[in-house]
Symmetry: C2
Subunit: 391 residues, 2 copies
Amino acid sequence: MSERIEADYIIETATNLEKAAATMAGEQSSGTFTKVPGETPELIERAGARVEKLTVLDTVEKPSLPGAKPGTPIRQAKVTISWPLETIGLSVPHLSIVIGGNLFELGDFSGLKVDDIRLPESFLASGPGPGFGIEGTRRLSGVYDRPLIGTIIKPSVGFTPEQTADLAEELAQAGLDFIKDDELQAASPSCPFEARVDAVMDRLHRHADRVGTLPMFAFNLTGEVDDMLRRRDYVLKAGGSCVMMTLNAVGLSGFMAVSRQSPLPIHAHRAGWGALSRHPVLGWSFPAWSKLWRLAGADHIHVNGIDNKFCESNESVIRSARSCLEPLGKTKPCITMPVFSSGQTPRQVPQTYAGLGSRDLIHAAGGGILGHPGGPSEGVAEMRSAWDAQK
Amino acid sequence: MSERIEADYIIETATNLEKAAATMAGEQSSGTFTKVPGETPELIERAGARVEKLTVLDTVEKPSLPGAKPGTPIRQAKVTISWPLETIGLSVPHLSIVIGGNLFELGDFSGLKVDDIRLPESFLASGPGPGFGIEGTRRLSGVYDRPLIGTIIKPSVGFTPEQTADLAEELAQAGLDFIKDDELQAASPSCPFEARVDAVMDRLHRHADRVGTLPMFAFNLTGEVDDMLRRRDYVLKAGGSCVMMTLNAVGLSGFMAVSRQSPLPIHAHRAGWGALSRHPVLGWSFPAWSKLWRLAGADHIHVNGIDNKFCESNESVIRSARSCLEPLGKTKPCITMPVFSSGQTPRQVPQTYAGLGSRDLIHAAGGGILGHPGGPSEGVAEMRSAWDAQK
C-alpha cells in the first residue's frame, strides 16, 4: 500500500501560493491551526498529505467568494495534493471527505474546487464499479451500435400507477429503449412503488410478448437503505431490468449498500448537483465527483445535455460525458454510460455525437418526445434517424 | 395527509419574479420545459407545487453566478414553495431532492439558496429524530448544567491505536468530557477501527475506574453501511458511549441505516459542508439543511465556532447553532446539541454564550487544548472556568 491518491484543485487566494497549498495538505492530514505535540517530522513524512505540484494560473481583480483573508494579488492556481493509502483506508465514502472535507471553508481561499482525482489500482478494490456498464445495458435492452433512446415519465409526479403504466405502454409502442421515473417520483401515497412496478411491468411484458424486446424501465428506489433493497428485489422479481437512485439524496454509503452485488443496473441521477458545481471555483468538477460514483457502482450517470434547459455550457457537458468513458484504472476501468438529458430533441444529436465521439450513451428526451406535435412515435423516430445520420 | 411541506428560498433572477417562482414550482413537481399531454389542471391542482409567497429583496448590479439568462434589473427575492405530502411520501432522503434538486442549475437564476424548511407534523414520522439528544448525552457523560468540554484527537491522522489511546488517557486525565476522532480518521491500515476502539476504551475504562466518570469518545464509523453497523456494535460492546459519521460522506440513506434504533448517540460531522454553503446565494443554509439531519437522527451536529479558522461569520455560526435548539415540531422536537469547534479557546466563551443563550452545547477545542502552553489540563481548566464565569 505504498501508492498514493492524488487530487487536483483549482484554488484562488490572496496569500502566498506555496503557503496556501501547504495549508491544504496540512488541514486534510496531520495538521491543525497550531502545532500540537504529536505532530513529529516522522509522522508528517509517513502520514501527511503532500503538495505534488503547483501551477500559477490567472490573477483576478475581486475575490470570487466572500470571507477570505484580504490582500493582493489574488491569484488562481492549480494544485495537486497526494495522500498515502495507509491513513485513508479502502473506503469510497471516506475518501470523499479526505479530498473534499473542510477545505472549501478555509479562510485562506476565495475559491477552491476539486478538478480531478487519480486513484491508484489498489484503491479500486474499495468499490464494486459498474456491475453492468455499457455491455450489460446493451445486453439487457437489446440495443447495439447506437444510443439507447430514452424518456422520462412526465408529468414527473401526479400520475397513479395505472396512469404511469398507460404512458409506459404508449412509450414502449412508440419505440423507446429506455424509460425512467422522474427523480421527483420515488414512493408516495399517490403512486406507491410496488403498485407502480406491478402496473408498469405488466404492460411492458405484454408489449415484449408482442414485439420481442423489453424496454428498460429505471424505477426510482430513492429512500432509506432497507426500503431500497426491498424495492430493488421487487423490481427484479417483477422482471424489471433497471433501478435508479438520486445520488445526492442517498449518499455514497446508501448507494453502495444497494449497488454492491446488485442484480440490476443502477441508473444514477445527479439532481442537486448544481449546488456542488455551479460556481466556477467552488465545489467539485463532474469528472472528479463522478469517479467516486463510478467506483461506487453507477452503471449510467446523468451528464446534462447539449443546449440544455439549465445553465451549463456545452463544453462542460462534453467534458463530463467524455470522462465517463475514460478508464479509472487498468484492473477496473469503471466505464459508466453517460445519460444526456434536459431539453433534448433531435437537433442536439450532431453536436452530441461530435463531442462525445461515441454512440455509447443514453439519449433521453422527456418533453421532447412526450410533447412532440406528432406524438411520441414521431419523437422517437426523429431521434433515431438523427442518430442514424451521424457517420 | 393534506398537510404541505414548505421551503423558503433566496433567489436572484433577471426574469420576471412571479414567472421565476412559477418555474421553480413547476420544475420541482409536475412541470417540464414544455407542455405534455398528462399535465391537466386537475393534476396540477392535486400534485403540483405551489408558490405561497414572494417578497422582493435587493437589486444587484451583476449576476452572482454565471450561466443565467441576461437582463436587467437583476433582483433578489425570498420565495416560499409548498408541496403536498401525497406526492413526496415519508422519506427524508427523497425530500432533500424535492427541495434541492435541479433548481440550482436552472438558467432563469443567477442565485438560488434554500433558506429554511418547515415540515408538517405528519412528515416528522419519516425519521427517528435524535435518540439521545441533550438529555441522553448529559446522562451518558455525567455532565450537567454546563457545556461538555471537548477535544479532537490531533494529529488528525498518523497515530497508531496505542498512540491514540495514550493521548485519550492523557485527555481524560486532563478533565475532558468529550473526545472525538478527527473526521479524517475512520478506519485505515495505520489505525484500524477495532484496534483503536480496544486500545482507547481500555484506557478510558481504567480512567473511569479511578475517577468515576467515563468521558464520551466519538469513534468515527464513516464507511459503507455494513461496516458502520458492525463498528457501531463493536463500540457498544466495548462499552463506548458515542459514534460519529461525516454526513456528506455517508449521505442521508447511509446515515439513517445507522441512526435508526442506534444504541449510541450519533455525533454528526459536517465536513464538506462548505461546498454546499459558502456562496451567499447558492446551495443550502445550515438551518434548512440541518433539519433533514436532525430528523434523520443526529444527536450532536457541528456548527463551526465563534472567530473560527474558517471563513464563516459569527452571525452565521450563531444562527446555525440557535436553529438546532428550536423544535422541528410539537410531536417531535428533534433538538440536536450544537458542537462549536474550529480554532476554539476560552476567549470565545463569552460570545458563544451570549449568542446561543444556552449551555446546551459541546465546546470542542483541538489545538486550543492540545497545543496549550501549560498542557491539556490547563487548557481544559481555562475552558471550564471561562464557562463558569458566564452568568
